[in-house]
Amino acid sequence: MSEFDAIVVGAGPAGSSSAIKMASGGLNVLLVERGDPPGSKNVSGGILWGKDLSSIIPDWEKSAPLERYVERKVTSFLTHDSEIAIDFKTKKFQQDKTGYSVLRTRLDGYLARKAQQAGAMLVTGVTVDSLAMKDGKVVGVINEGETITSDVVILAEGPNPRVAISAGLREKPNDKTVAVGVKQVYKLPENVINDRFNLRGNAGFAGEYVISFLPNNVFAGGFLYTNKDTISVGVVINLETLRKDGKTHSFDIMEQFVQHPYIAPFLEGGQLQEYSAHFVYEGGYESLPKPYGNGYMMVGDTAGFSFSNGMILQGMNYAISSGILAGESAIEAKKDNDFSEVSLSRYWKKLEVSPAILDKKNFRGINSVVWSGLVHRTIPALLETSLQNMLYETGAPKKHLSQILLKSMSSTGVSSKDMMIQGYRLMRRM
């Protein structure tokens, strides 16, 4: 007889969601988090697409610590001294709010409290050292040599899952499966943020950037999100190109981003409140681990559930949905009193028809396009030169767009054939 029905390792959005689901379903749940309070060890850009929360917290839009809803979404290329952006704003988002900026120290605490209220036992400030195994089955967790037993263990450790890796359930993160994220939070008065981003009330700005001006072919993306009275800003750096270069530091890239002539004015006068860094999971469909086995399931980043295609960068929504599905599976397995691999394969069946897997599958190979010279160097340079020629009056006779484009291509060293092939690939993958 196990002490708990389920032990959840990690109280981020994935772990807490599964704990809420399981505890509400009558399971006896232990939720263990090394951070104290929950969220203190976590970093994320901070846009929550929280529709999935509705099934476990019906009033989440009223009770969760949400900062602003996304009304203005910018996708942008930054060159050394220009910005070329798609700036999409719509009042439709006011009616149907889908994305909210959040601060993880608050959100994670809120979700963990919800798990407690649902009946889960929350223990913070303690690290799970390893999994307890018996006859090839996970039977609990070990801390300081003592075993706490459970029928099933849910691994929700984030993108660098020490316990899952040491148990051989997952590969170590490598340059292809993770990027490095660096993030800062600046404090500014609410009205100053509203003025700078042309926002009213609780509307918010979410910007994602291709940072194309870094030396030595290091690829990085940036993000900037408005909270109530803070701004979250950060970079996500491709590790393959960073390592290849070997000279550029991640904090230098962060500095160059926040000092960019079209980023710095947003942050001017802000007081730096947080500075953090973390892995960002980026692995594609091919590198997904098998997220279940005898007595265990993996959720969120630990199972590789995150998504980026250059236009969007998401993780928390998949964390929540996979947490809920794992919770559901555990409840069903408890009814059969069977936590074997065969029984828990029901989790995989649920995943297969959910966005956590489908998005990965449908956008297979997207990483090679997102982290490519085409996106990070060629397109920004081409756009910059073309727009400069097209939009500025020079006194010379005007030219057709096609002429400008061709000239820009030759000056940036791109052949038109190459451009067509690569452009087609990009459109297809995105």
Binding site: V32, M121, V123, G125, V126, V141, N143, E144, E146, I148
Partner: protein, 266 residues
């Protein structure tokens, strides 16, 4: 008969994260996380060491808001046998006088005790009043600023750290002892102990349970009022970089400016 030890603890904002609101000049508590006052962790460890060596029943008492729960659980997880949180909206806004009174009254309600152990002071206000205050309210002896506490045959033997040496004091129980910050290394809390602590739970006592009138405690029972706070301007300091080879010149310069004095042993 088993030794009865009471440990007084307080939950405080993490001193490494304290932020002063530039407008109101108050501590911005919403940004800081709450932790157990570090010196109180040393006080609990001193009590637990007595429990290990001579056997004792350790009861933790605290006065604070409901969120002090985490501190109560933490103390139980480290090895306390019982935890009582004096918590009541009437206790809010207390200065050190009604705080001492509330804790002393709580301890009286618990019943017989031999030793009360407290941290030397809390990191959020640093008065060091509450421990000695409780001893006065209870009319018992006190030994302050100790680095080591032992018990033998009805006596506490404690070492006090003084400026010019260590004083060893032997005093009959009941007695209140305050313990220096960092005088020991608090034991770790394991997952097992934390689970057991949460299951055991702690008690919450209000003014009625303790037997206090609302006008004796909290802001109404406090003789001091903070009228104003102001930040201290950081003094500009001169700095210059010197090469290792130029240290001799620096010593000479400081000597000439009377910063360094030359003393020759006779």
């Amino acid at each position: 008969m088993v030794l009865e030890i009471i440990v007084m603890v307080k939950q405080v904002p993490d001193s490494q994260e304290v932020v002063i609101d530039p407008v109101t000049m108050n501590l911005n508590r919403s940004l800081t996380r709450n932790v157990t006052n570090r010196a109180d962790e040393n006080a609990l460890e001193a009590a637990l060491r007595l429990k290990d060596s001579v056997g004792a029943n350790v009861t933790v008492v605290s006065m604070g808001p409901p969120q002090a729960e985490t501190t109560m659980i933490e103390c139980l997880a480290r090895g306390a046998d019982r935890a009582i949180l004096a918590s009541d909206r009437f206790f809010g806004g207390a200065d050190t006088y009604p705080t001492g009174l509330t804790l002393a009254a709580t301890i009286s309600k618990i019943g017989k005790f031999d030793i009360i152990i407290a941290g030397e002071e809390t990191s959020d206000s640093s008065t060091g009043h509450v421990g000695p205050g409780v001893a006065e309210f209870l009319d018992i002896d006190q030994v302050t600023y100790t680095s080591k506490v032992e018990y033998k045959d009805g006596y506490v033997i404690a070492e006090r750290e003084l400026e010019d040496g260590t004083e060893v004091v032997k005093v009959p129980t009941p007695v209140l002892v305050t313990v220096l910050l960092n005088s020991n290394v608090p034991r770790r809390q394991t997952l097992r102990r934390k689970i057991d602590a949460i299951r055991k739970g702690f008690e919450v006592w209000d003014h009625d349970r303790i037997g206090l009138q609302p006008e004796w405690v909290g802001v109404r029972g406090s003789p001091t009022i903070v009228r104003r706070m102001r930040p201290i301007k950081e003094r500009e300091r001169a700095a210059k970089k010197i090469e290792l080879s130029a240290v001799g010149d620096l010593v000479k310069e400081l000597y000439e400016k009377n910063v360094l004095k030359l003393e020759v042993d006779s």
